[in-house]
Assembly symmetry: C2
Homo-oligomer: 154 residues x 2
């Protein structure tokens, strides 16, 4: 158990070190991660409106597309957008707290559940069962909240 | 031919009128569409770095995830983020040109090719043929450019 956790943190650390694209500036990292989350939040909002609050008519295709979008964010390898210098003790216009880099095990755990719960949401959305979508939406929302409670400043 | 085009524009117009979520403010529409495109651009950048410029080692999983992300943006129903009041003759902090709303046929045509070319990129990325990915990346890039040349201010 201990070993896996340590390994996961090591993997994350190496993901942080090996960029998928050319090295990005701290400003670009911040803007890009904020964009990714905002795109996810817009799509969460559609599912909330249609499956949870039921204030907009349920549209299976829109819900499936929204779930695809959230899963695409969760699986996009956002670790490369987090360099130590991009936390709010060193950079402007960001709410990332520096403890993120002291708790990479926890970060990894939350990132993995975000990916798993959104992949599940994607499957359920494809089947079109509104109540099941609403339940799984809540699970995804918990992973967002868990990360924000730990690593995002007010 | 004429009929289909007119119908498509009508469909787009109705998509603009019928939100997938609760009505958004003009500011939220602008921020959200900019976020979606920026998230797409980040993922295009990864494919460019790995499959076109070859400055970063090709990683099939990262490329597949990036292609999923671009397709998710293209299929996310961004039409609802474009209200007439959100063009740059009426709103701040946006580069959307008002002619967008006079040329809905062309908008629709570009939006459809963006969706089709990115879905193709998604398929090709899953198979992992680097040269084919590079070719299809260029096709997707043309749809981005086509939209910007017509509807995005400098």
């Amino acid at each position: 158990m201990k070993k896996t956790t340590v390994l996961s943190a090591a993997l994350l650390a190496s993901a942080l070190a090996m960029p998928a694209a050319a090295q990005m500036s701290v400003e670009d990292q911040i803007e890009t991660r904020q964009s990714a989350y905002q795109f996810a939040a817009w799509n969460m909002g559609k599912i909330k409106a249609q499956a949870v609050d039921e204030e907009v008519e349920y549209d299976e295709k829109q819900i499936a597309a929204a779930a695809n979008a959230i899963a695409a964010v969760a699986n996009s390898g956002m670790g490369t957008l987090y360099s130590r210098d991009s936390a709010n003790d060193r950079a402007d216009d960001t709410r990332l707290k520096p403890n993120f880099f002291d708790e990479l095990d926890k970060v990894q755990e939350i990132a993995v559940s975000f990916a798993q719960e959104s992949s599940k949401l994607q499957e359920i959305a494809a089947s079109g069962d509104k109540a099941a979508v609403a339940r799984q939406f809540a699970k995804v929302g918990e992973t967002c909240k868990n990360c924000h409670d730990n690593f995002r400043a007010e």
